[in-house]
Amino acid sequence: MDLLEYQGKQLFARHGIPVPSGKPASTVADAVAAADEIGYPCVVKAQVLIGGRGKAGGVKLAKDRAEAEQYATDILGMDIKGFTVHEVWIEAASDIASEYYASIVFDRAAKAPLVMFSTKGGMDIEAVAEETPEALVRIHVDPLLGFQDFHGRRLAFEAGVDADVVRPVGALLSKLYDAFVAEEAMLVEVNPLIVTGDRDVKALDAKVTLDGNSLYRHPDNAGLRNPSQEDEQEQMAHERGLTYVKLDGDIGILGNGAGLVMSTLDVVAQAGGSPANFLDAGGGSKADAIVSAVEVILSDTKVRAVLFNIFGGITRCDEVAKGLIEAFDVVKPTVPFVVRLDGTNDVAGRQLLADASLPNVHTEATMLGAAQKVVELAAAHGAAA
């Protein structure tokens, strides 16, 4: 779960990480009031879950009230790479002497948090990592031992920060690590981390990704979800507890188990088709979950045929068949369905489908056969539509 910049900064502040003062606003009037309160000059920053705001005109320095109003008007509602700006963050302008970069990522390969630090902040860090890898200091931290003072010194000294800020930079990194662990983040990134003219060290930006599986322990964070940033189908699937990813094609896919669904997408693609989505109905899916899933898949109007690929383990094929029959009753789909059922209670499931003789539902014995059939039907249905 990704946080907006200002949500990340508020999270940082709870852990004692210095951030400039600011206020969020979703209307021009609120933005101007916030700017008046914070004082001028101030910065009007678009709050979107995508990089490159600055280049897109989403970050502006306002010298006075008139400028603040103008910029808030320009930025609110702006489209940045497909993301609509619903909120701005009004922030006190900072006096920047140096721009550094700091981040902590949950490194799956190393099975440890990876702390990265560079004095080349304020720019595209991936370019820095590629062009001058020695400028990006990388240290893994043992999860049980935790971040030690020496880690902070190493990062600061090896990156070559100014000697007078080695301590405050180390202290900030230590708090960033505390925040990373305490909030169960998958990523915390500060770019730029600035040194001001007064030699204060501050986080001028904040990028935070939280672990969705841990949100039950962090009710405050769970409330931060920005539904307006999700795709319509994805939002609908999320509300119904389904694992759904929207894709570009026209064949709706439902399977049980992430690996099998991914494999199904591949096999459909190999057969010449184009998947419209990834939908994992999960283990032990009950009939009502299947109904919800069909609703989500068909809410995408591009879908011209649907493939059910089930290999039952925990999932019982008879439950899937019941769900499909119920879905036909509720949703009354107009596109063809191809169904492949194997595994737990597959005989009973196939029998239920045969007895129901749903319109335009084809059963297939193998995954490969089912994929080929759905591609064929989608092409035909597309031609007909």
């Binding site: 799956r108 049980l144 039950y216 894709l247 188990g257 690996g259 991914m262 494999s263 990834f278």
Partner: protein, 291 residues
């Protein structure tokens, strides 16, 4: 022979008295697994169809000599349950639970590596089936028979798919090991391939990977350096778009690293043949075994 679970397995199930725990523990027992105990705090003295229930894993181990634990508790209790099993001296912990917080998994993994002689498979995995001997987890055992193919996979249902394609061609399995699709699996491909390499029953190894992480690439290096038996690979997720989590928390592609294409190429560069579909994977295996 088989790997990890077999006739010596003495299984304790944490979360036994829950609906899912009861269902699968009894399934496992019906298959022939020696299910010796369950753990549910506060339910000491009860039993589930004759399986005695204890308050703690330590008590279960002391009373029944359990050496393997299956974790069936909800995600918020799972890390503690795994740590309890490790502390109680359990040799093999099989964690079925899905949705464990990533930082919990990190702590568990780090503690696991400090616990000599202990092994964790999962979390978020279907478990381990050694056909004809023991089933620990939720793999539908009736689709598989005993044989000489070892299967290791990050995905549950995909494992069934591949195992089933092999079975349809007449091949059985030594063991089928689901290592799970989470960010921090307790056992890697390498850990399990090492066991298959040592297992006399196993003559061919099928490794089923997916996008995300670098476990398949690491396995490719390991196979080239250490494995004498033939290995056939499969990778799911060629059509997955970058930056999206495809169900499994581990299945996310960042940039060009972790793509299905990169993984398949890494394996092929080390001489591992990779099927492009489950069907093709089974066909390659059949071809090798029949040669």
């Amino acid at each position: 022979m088989s790997v990890l679970v077999g006739k010596d397995t003495r299984l304790v199930v944490t979360g036994l008295t829950g609906r899912e725990g009861t269902f699968h523990a009894l399934n496992n027992r019906n298959y022939g697994t020696d299910v010796v105990a369950g753990v549910t705090p506060g339910k000491r003295g009860q039993d589930v169809e004759g399986i005695p229930v204890f308050d703690t894993v330590h008590a279960a181990v002391a009373e029944t000599g359990a050496n393997t634990a299956m974790i069936f508790v909800p995600p918020r209790f799972a890390a503690d349950s795994i740590l309890e099993a490790l502390d109680a001296g359990i040799e093999l912990v099989v964690a079925i639970t899905e949705g464990i917080p990533a930082h919990d998994e990190l702590r568990v993994y780090t503690q696991l590596k400090r616990t000599p002689g202990a092994r964790l498979v999962g979390p978020n995995c279907p478990g381990i089936l050694s056909p004809g001997k023991a089933n620990v987890g939720i793999i539908p055992a009736s689709f598989f028979k005993e044989g000489n193919v070892g299967v290791v996979s990050r995905s549950g249902t995909l494992t069934y798919q591949i195992g089933n394609e092999l079975a349809q061609r007449g091949f059985g399995n030594s063991s089928i090991v689901g290592i799970g699709g989470d960010p921090v699996p307790g056992s890697s491909f390498i850990d399990i391939i090492e066991l298959f390499e040592q297992d006399p029953q196993t003559e061919l190894i099928v490794m089923s990977g997916e996008i995300g992480g670098s476990a398949e690439e690491e396995a490719a290096e390991y196979i080239a350096a250490n494995v004498t038996k033939p290995v056939v690979g499969y990778i799911a997720g060629f059509t997955a778009p970058p930056g999206k989590t495809m169900g499994h928390a581990g299945a996310i592609v960042s940039g060009t690293a972790g793509t299905a294409k990169a993984k398949a190429e890494a394996l092929e560069a080390k001489g591992v043949r990779v099927g492009r579909t489950p069907t093709e994977t089974a066909e390659i295996a059949m071809e090798i075994l029949s040669a």
